[in-house]
């Protein structure tokens, strides 16, 4: 009942304020050109507090130096391209006055500040919630006690919960600054800001913590402590997210290797170049789409993914049939021969596409970011994480649930026995290698979204992917997943202390030491397979 009454009272007050504004809007506009800069700043501020949408147009014009005064003293807004003038008060047409008959309404820095704040206040009523949110954030930063009333009004009219919360916080910050606000009101404001818990809240609370009123200071100090805790938590969460994101990239790059190296025991040094081929496939697909069907650009990655799989997979099959097949049982020679392949692929791409970075665009749904608490999450990183898990799940399904997966496992466990059972081992080898290579191509599609697409793309990932597979344990793709995320998260948690390069070095040294302890990785295959 009381809340209903309060709402009613507020509406009434708003109505009165609106009526008052209508009366003095014209007066304020007329007063704008006159007086000193200080007077002008005062008028600008009052205009902002009217909440009148017409004021926004005038203030924007003033900010852009388009507000002029006619010879008869009427303020007009002049379009600086056509020179056409309209009256500032009601927008009526005033023709095209000669430029030298106009007097510019000048502004200085103090007026500019007032302008920004006033425009912010007026934008609080903008129909677009994103604009209102930005304005509310500005108000939070400004923390101007004079804006309290306007914020109250905007708060009452606000329908979007997110914007309303920010408005309330902005109001709280303003209340804290206000010298004549009541004690309980300020305590409530401290609580509101503490709940927000970010840098803006900290900035508003810090002066209060040193305030002369002991209860306020104490509350503010407690709030600051809470904010510290919240920021530590979100810092941790953000690090964790970065780690997961890096882990997903590593997993994508390494999971194909886990098939060729882990399952087949073939060291494929050209794996990085297969990733690069996937990225270049994406580039070519986007070029074709840009030229032929720009409307499909949003689908470019969806189209590129299967193509990249096929391209990289086909190259993989050719490598297996042409080279690796002759070198089974001689892992060191395989390593050298596939290194040769990697050099040739690099040079081939360099000759075909040039040595420079190629521009691969982000489709709309991959660009931008959103906030979760105080964390910023970019869409492309999120989608890559999802994609990595999807690839992993499909791969697991293929290996565990399909006939070809069964044959792959049979051949790698006991080639002779598998051949006796009628499995065409040569064909299975080619398909397994092709599968691992195809997944490298898929990784390339994802990496093209976050990394430079250049002939050196693969080189940057090859050492890391081998580390992941070796760390996770060859022959077990679950190990690859665990290895990728462990290394990714460890890397991101080391970075703040050690710096990016030193962090990476520490990780490498860590892996070298880890291999001493568990030479077969985190998830070693036990039993007879070990010596194979």
């Amino acid at each position: 009942m009381t809340s209903l009454l309060r709402a009613l009272a507020l509406l009434l007050a708003l109505g009165c304020a609106g009526a008052a504004a209508a009366q003095d809007f014209a007066g304020l506009i007329a007063a704008l050109p006159g007086g000193s800069y200080a007077d002008r700043a005062k008028v600008v501020k009052d205009l902002g507090l009217t909440g009148d949408p017409r004021a926004l147009v005038v203030l924007r014009a003033l900010e852009a130096d388009d507000l002029k005064v006619l010879a008869d003293g009427t303020p007009v807004i002049v379009n600086d391209k056509t020179g056409a003038a309209v009256a500032a008060v009601d927008g009526s047409d005033r023709g095209t006055p000669a430029a030298d008959s106009l007097d510019r309404v000048k502004v200085n820095n103090a007026v500019r500040r007032a302008l920004r704040s006033a425009i912010g206040m007026l934008t609080l009523r903008d129909p677009d919630p994103a604009r209102r949110l930005a304005a509310a954030r500005d108000a939070l930063k400004a923390a101007d006690p004079d804006q309290i009333e306007a914020l109250d009004a905007a708060l009452a009219a606000e329908t979007d919960a997110g914007v309303a919360a920010t408005l309330a916080e902005a109001r709280a910050a303003a209340v804290l600054k206000s010298p004549d606000a009541a004690g309980p009101d300020q305590l409530a404001a401290i609580a509101t800001l503490a709940a927000r818990g970010d840098d803006a809240a900290r900035a508003a609370l810090t002066p209060v913590a040193a305030s002369a009123k002991p209860d306020l200071a104490k509350a503010a100090q407690a709030a600051l402590a809470r904010i510290d805790e919240a920021q530590r938590f979100w810092g941790l969460a953000q690090n964790l997210w970065y780690g997961l994101s890096l882990g997903s990239v590593l997993m994508l790059a390494a999971v194909g290797l886990a098939i060729t190296f882990g399952v087949m025991g073939v060291i494929n040094m050209a794996h990085g170049e297969l990733v690069m081929l996937g990225a270049y496939t994406t580039f070519v697909v986007q070029q074709v789409i840009r030229a032929e069907a720009p409307g499909l650009f949003g689908w470019s990655l969806v189209i590129a993914a299967p193509l990249a799989f096929v391209v990289a997979g086909a190259v993989g099959v050719v490598i297996e049939r042409g080279i690796v097949r002759h070198l089974y049982g001689r892992p060191l020679e395989t390593l050298l021969a596939t290194w040769g392949v990697s050099l040739m692929l690099q040079q081939a791409v360099r000759s075909a596409f040039g040595p420079d970075n190629r521009d691969v665009g982000n489709p709309g749904w991959m660009s931008g970011a959103f906030h979760l608490g105080q964390m910023q999450i970019t869409w492309n990183r999120l989608w890559i994480l999802v994609f990595a898990f999807a690839v992993f799940a499909v791969l697991l399904m293929v290996l565990k649930r399909t006939p070809i997966g069964l044959q792959m496992r049979a051949v790698t466990q006991n080639r002779a026995m598998a051949a006796n059972m009628g499995i065409r081992t040569g064909r299975v080898d080619a398909l397994t290698f092709g599968l691992g290579s195809g997944i490298a191509g898929l990784a390339g599609v994802a990496l093209s979204q976050i990394d430079n697409v250049s002939p050196n793309l693969g080189q940057n990932y090859i050492v890391d992917s081998f580390m992941v597979v070796v760390f996770g344990g060859a022959g077990n793709i679950w190990g690859t997943m665990a290895g990728a995320f462990t290394l990714g998260i460890a890397n991101k948690f080391l970075e703040p202390f050690a710096g990016a390069v030193l962090g990476k070095i520490l990780i490498l040294v860590g892996i070298i030491l880890f291999i001493q302890k568990r030479p077969r990785g985190l998830f070693a295959v036990k039993g007879r397979a070990v010596e194979a």
Partner: protein, 363 residues
């Protein structure tokens, strides 16, 4: 101890070490230009590096993909001495610290640069630094029986980590640019042809010495055990040999040889920077040995010289073609010439003479 193929190679090396100085310094018209002298010196350093790798790979089955790191460490030790030799003749004319330290605002020499103005200490560090790294790394790796491709990959990780580390400016090794602008060595001006000839002859001597040492080690009882380790590691262990000790010894020795090669290389090319640590460089060493023939020593040295010379020619004439050629070389050698050119040649010769070819044990 010196068999026929090493005899022929050493004789050739001797001829080279006589003809090149005479051609460059004594004969009128200079039939051997000075740039060629430095180039030959560089190839000889590569050859010594290849011999070092052949010692561990050809005779002990350890495929190190990180030998470039030992080479570069030796090079850095020499480079540090050469940097200190510049003294106050640098751009900033600062007598107490090298130019790059002035540039990043360091006032004093960090402790690990102390004493590098003495050649003796630098020369000792040329073998101690890579030897120590190899000893520590090998001690960890061989003790826990990391073998085969796993070892190859972690040696690669080692050199990669070192590359990242040396790229950092605050390591105090010149960061990205490395050490360069050397003036003289032991008072001899590095720009003088006579100094270049001297360094080249020194490299030839080092290569000859390295070959003889490697031959001596592999011909000894210890060398026989090494070959056993290569061919049947578990069996050797079961016979009572401490496999890891043999491996550690040969790995450390090889790293020291690589360090010497690096130290001779740096004054001849005039620069050492972190890209020498790059994994690709280390793999290139492997192809020298593979092409020449692993386990032949002389073949490794020849392979290094031939591939390095081909690189110089091809990157000059057809820059696009070099990586294709190198890639094709990797593939062809592993598929068609598993024993390398020298191995294939000798097999063919002995087959022609009707003697049974030497048996190649399966790795």
């Amino acid at each position: 101890m010196i068999d026929r193929r090493m005899g022929i190679f050493l004789a050739g090396l001797f001829v080279l070490a006589v003809v090149v100085p005479v051609g460059n310094l004594a004969l009128a018209g200079q039939p051997v230009p000075t740039y060629l002298v430095a180039l030959i010196g560089k190839y000889l350093c590569y050859a010594l590096l290849a011999v070092a790798l052949d010692l561990v790979w050809g005779y002990c089955g350890i495929l190190s993909l990180g030998h470039g790191a030992f080479f570069a460490l030796g090079g850095y030790a020499m480079g540090m001495y050469l940097m200190r030799e510049i003294g106050d003749r640098g751009v900033y004319a600062n007598p107490s610290v090298p130019d790059f330290m002035v540039f990043i605002g360091w006032k004093e020499l960090p402790w690990y640069w102390w004493g590098f103005d003495h050649f003796a200490l630098a020369a000792a560090m040329v073998v101690i630094a890579p030897g120590l790294l190899a000893f520590v790394f090998g001690w960890f790796a061989f003790r826990s029986r990391v073998t085969g491709v796993y070892l190859s990959i972690i040696t690669q990780a080692m050199t990669y980590a070192l590359m990242l580390a040396f790229f950092r400016n605050d390591m105090g090794f010149g960061g990205n640019n490395g050490l360069t602008d050397f003036k003289d060595i032991l008072g001899f001006d590095l720009a003088q042809p006579a100094t270049k000839v001297g360094l080249m002859v020194l490299s030839a001597l080092a290569l000859a010495g390295g070959l003889v040492l490697a031959r001596w080690v592999t011909g000894s009882r210890l060398g026989k055990v090494l070959v056993c380790v290569r061919d049947a590691e578990s069996r050797t262990r079961f016979l009572g040999y401490r496999v890891e000790h043999y491996k550690l010894f040969i790995f450390t020795l090889s790293a020291m040889m690589a360090g010497v090669a690096g130290a001779l290389y740096v004054p001849q090319v005039g620069i050492i920077n972190p890209s020498e640590f790059s994994p690709a460089n280390s793999i290139e060493i492997v192809i020298w040995v593979a092409l020449g023939g692993r386990g032949t020593l002389v073949g490794a040295a020849l392979g290094a010289i031939v591939v390095a010379a081909a690189k110089t020619v091809l990157t000059g004439a057809l820059p696009e073609a070099w990586l294709y050629a190198l890639g094709a070389l990797f593939i062809l050698v592993t598929l068609v010439l598993p024993t390398g050119v020298v191995g294939a040649l000798e097999d063919t010769l002995s087959r022609l003479r009707g003697t049974p070819p030497r048996k190649e044990a399966k790795a």
